[in-house]
Symmetry: C2
Subunit: 197 residues, 2 copies
DNA sequence: AATTTCAAGTAACGACTGTTAGTTATATAT
DNA sequence: ATATATAACTAACAGTCGTTACTTGAAATT
């Protein structure tokens, strides 16, 4: 038992350091020797803790994916207006990312280096997630809350682009905290920059 | 003379094919042997046309950067309202990307693999470009066109995220053409999703 | 005190990396 | 016909890649 806990703990250290490295240099350009050096050990020693380089990437990508799914499921379960749902979805997504900005960056930028069949599974989960946001937008159009002139694919892709780049520029030490960021981002996408006349 | 033209032409072919490969696999994961294979030649033969792998990346990144700068300079030269300027900037940016979606994707995702001092130069140009968009937003706030409640950094980063991910999902064969896409995107960011009551 | 577990080490493998040196066949220009 | 330029070739380099096999010292458990 204690072996498993302690092993997991060290394995977690390896994975977290790997996330930093993958975020900084990209998965393909990050070598196992780089990672080992950051941890102060030899490259071969990494394999006492992990099965392969890709196992690290898989763990990072799929753990984040599970968090996103969980957050969205909770948002969907509440019976509120589409604007409210969209707003909650945006805030939830941002808060999941804020809990681990490094893993979020890897999730977003490096998932393409997953091999099959993991890549396929990952992309299916992602499409599913996006489509559920798209449904919320469609509900909003149907209920008359949102303009019917907007292209739904464009709207949802714009939304995701904005969300997914956040880990690249957001400074967790900055004045604005993740929750406030979520509020503002939701407001900006729903109401736009323009002052309501 | 004719040597230069013909050489340039073949060099261009190599660079364009490299852009496709870099977009698909990422710069680091794309090998010169992959590229050569796509062109039906041997890896060593590439070096008749280009100096190095990174020269290709440099040429892709800096050529795109020049196009973006040119587009923004023209937008800035016109004396119009801030909303109009922002709108024109967005449309211009999208049209530059649409002219070469592949190079745009490389520009956005792979520039970090530039070595110094090119990386530094690239990032400085990019900061400058972003700050000029930020100025337009600030003008809009000052003139009362835009809300003064918005965080300007958040606004400009959201804008850029939306713009920069477009090459990843936009299908040039789709119903909506780049100009319409620019119109809609500008409208969405300025006016939001919500119907004006 | 003996045994097991953990986290590291050394050495090495086969494959792949970007790149070079030098050569050759083909098309164009003189 | 001769010279030149283009675009390809073969062979090979020094280095790096992820990973395996096996070993070792220290800590925890029995």
């Amino acid at each position: 038992m204690s072996e498993a806990i302690s092993n997991l703990s060290r394995k977690e250290q390896v994975i977290r350091k790997a996330a930093e490295l993958f975020k900084e240099k990209g998965y393909a350009a990050a070598s196992m020797r780089d990672l080992a050096h950051l941890l102060g050990i030899e490259a071969a020693s990494l394999y006492s803790h992990i099965k392969s380089k890709e196992e690290i990437l898989r763990s990072l990508c799929f753990d984040m994916a599970a968090e996103f799914q969980k957050s969205l499921a909770e948002v969907e379960s509440k019976d509120v207006t589409a604007s409210e749902k969209l707003r909650n979805g945006i805030i939830g997504h941002i808060q999941v990312m804020a809990k681990d900005l490094t893993a979020s960056a890897v999730f977003m930028n490096e998932h393409r280096h997953l091999s099959q069949p993991y890549l396929r599974d990952f992309l299916l989960m992602r499409i599913n997630y996006i489509n559920r946001f798209k449904s919320i937008i469609e509900q909003g159009v149907k209920s008359g809350e949102f303009k019917d002139s907007i292209d739904k694919k464009l709207a949802v892709m714009t939304l995701f682009s904005s969300l997914n780049w956040m880990p690249m520029w957001y400074d967790p030490g900055s004045a604005i905290d993740p929750l406030q960021l979520g509020f503002q981002l939701a407001d900006m996408l729903v109401n736009g920059l323009k002052k309501n006349a």
